[in-house]
């Protein structure tokens, strides 16, 4: 049954996003091809506009992906469609797990399409030289770890949204408002906890403590690597916590409108 639920969740999310995938890739390819034509001011302008549109589509894809997952969750689990969802012969755990897997799959494809579009538009030796000029010590390891942290942060935001909705929709009134408030409060608490964890680590590591106590702290590559690994670990723990709590709350039952 999980597979069937997942199929319909994926269909719903992809229905619109696939159009943006296509647009991002098409504009990226147009931008790249026209950029290859030398000595033409017009083609150069069109190329830059196309790449600009492609980047706008990338933002659109990521924002739309997050919003559609949240909207799907509200409609499917708490609004009119919930009358069907909760009367299907499936467990609440399966309903939630389907949303989690749909989130991971759609975010994965959205990020892949975004990266491909971005690299089609902007990837060249000049870009690498530019990055190396700003960060001479940068390595592929750092770039990839930074990417992983950004992806984990996006996933944390997404699952935080699902948790906030689950909390907000447990009440009888102002459900959406309470979801927003819950989300904001949990985000603030998680930020303070992250800072607290970093400070505790700082008690054993002078370079990290300097970030709290000095205005002139220098972040070396080793410290940056360490910070990225800490951030990735913290986000991973938050993601797991958000999902465990949301699932537990959903298991307790729903009160649909």
């Amino acid at each position: 049954m999980l597979g069937k639920l997942l199929k319909y969740d994926l269909k719903w999310v992809y229905k619109i996003i696939v159009i943006y995938y296509g647009l991002a890739l098409v504009f990226a390819i147009i931008g790249r091809l026209l950029g290859c034509i030398d000595n033409s001011f017009i083609f150069d302008v069109i190329s830059k506009i196309s790449c600009g549109v492609s980047v706008a589509m990338i933002f659109n894809i990521l924002i739309n992906n997050i919003i559609r997952i949240w909207v799907r969750y509200i409609h499917n689990v708490y609004k009119d469609e919930s009358y069907l969802t909760h009367t299907l012969p499936v467990t609440k755990g399966e309903i939630y797990l389907s949303k989690v897997i749909a989130t991971l799959i759609t975010m994965f494809t959205s990020i892949v399409v975004s990266l491909i579009s971005f690299f089609i538009c902007y990837w060249n030796d000049g870009l690498i030289d530019f990055i190396k000029m700003i960060y001479p010590e940068i390595s592929w390891g750092i770039i990839i770890t930074t990417g992983i942290v950004v992806i984990l942060e996006l996933l944390f935001l997404l699952f935080l949204g699902l948790l906030a909705i689950t909390i907000g929709y447990r009440s009888n009134h102002n459900k959406l408002l309470k979801s927003f408030v819950s989300g904001f409060v949990i985000y603030m608490i998680s930020s303070f906890v992250s800072l607290g964890v970093l400070f505790i680590i700082g008690l054993f590591n002078k370079d990290i403590l300097d970030l709290f106590t000095s205005m002139n702290a220098v972040i070396g590559m080793d410290i940056l690597k360490f910070l990225l690994i800490v951030a990735a670990t913290i986000y991973l723990v938050y993601i797991i916590l958000c999902n465990v709590i949301s699932n537990k709350l959903l298991q307790k039952g729903v009160n649909v409108d």
């Binding site: 319909y8 719903w12 009358y83 299907l88 012969p89 467990t91």
Partner: protein, 231 residues
Amino acid sequence: MELLECIHLSKEFDNKKILNDINFKIPRGKIVGLLGKNGTGKSTLIKLINDLLTPTSGDVLINGKNPGVESKRIISYLPERTYLDKGMRVADVVKFFEEFYEDFDSDKAYELLAKLELDKDMKLTKMSKGMQEKVQLILVMSRKADLYILDEPLGGVDPATRDYILDTILSNFNEGASVIISTHLIADIERILDEVIFIDKGKIVLTGSADEIRKKEKTSIDEVFRRMFKC
């Protein structure tokens, strides 16, 4: 074992009791009218049976078990609102039901759709609310369920269609199954009821066999209802 049993069932919203100590049993093979004015707790009771609300206290037992996957396999529920994904075509929702409910008969669904001249390739967004409700009724009645729960199935339809809907219910529900019909339009459904449950202000005020009540009160169920709930 009773098909459905509610034991001391209560539901509160913001400390206000919507249902208060509801107790009743529904055996197999009966058509039961859940009757009451608007806002008396009929839909809340139905939502509790269907696991759409969590009880404040008490129990709902279906075949002796609390609502869950097993109960959802044997209950076919028609809510008072349209619950289908509006972006789907009729054929898509038929396929959806076929995939999730083992007891769903898609041939019967297509037959009923054809009788009502509903286009299977039409998107639900293009349909009127009345047409969507008919599609939902067809989906619900195309299951070979043990218990059909129909919440206000006659709510927004004209009298001619009401007769058609009642005939559809009567001629399509699974033999040996029970049907609960929640409504305030009693005159329309009186002829098909075996038992009635009158509900008012969250409490059961009268329950029993429709024939016995008619005999005892020497009038129709509709008249009993009018007298009981006179404003």
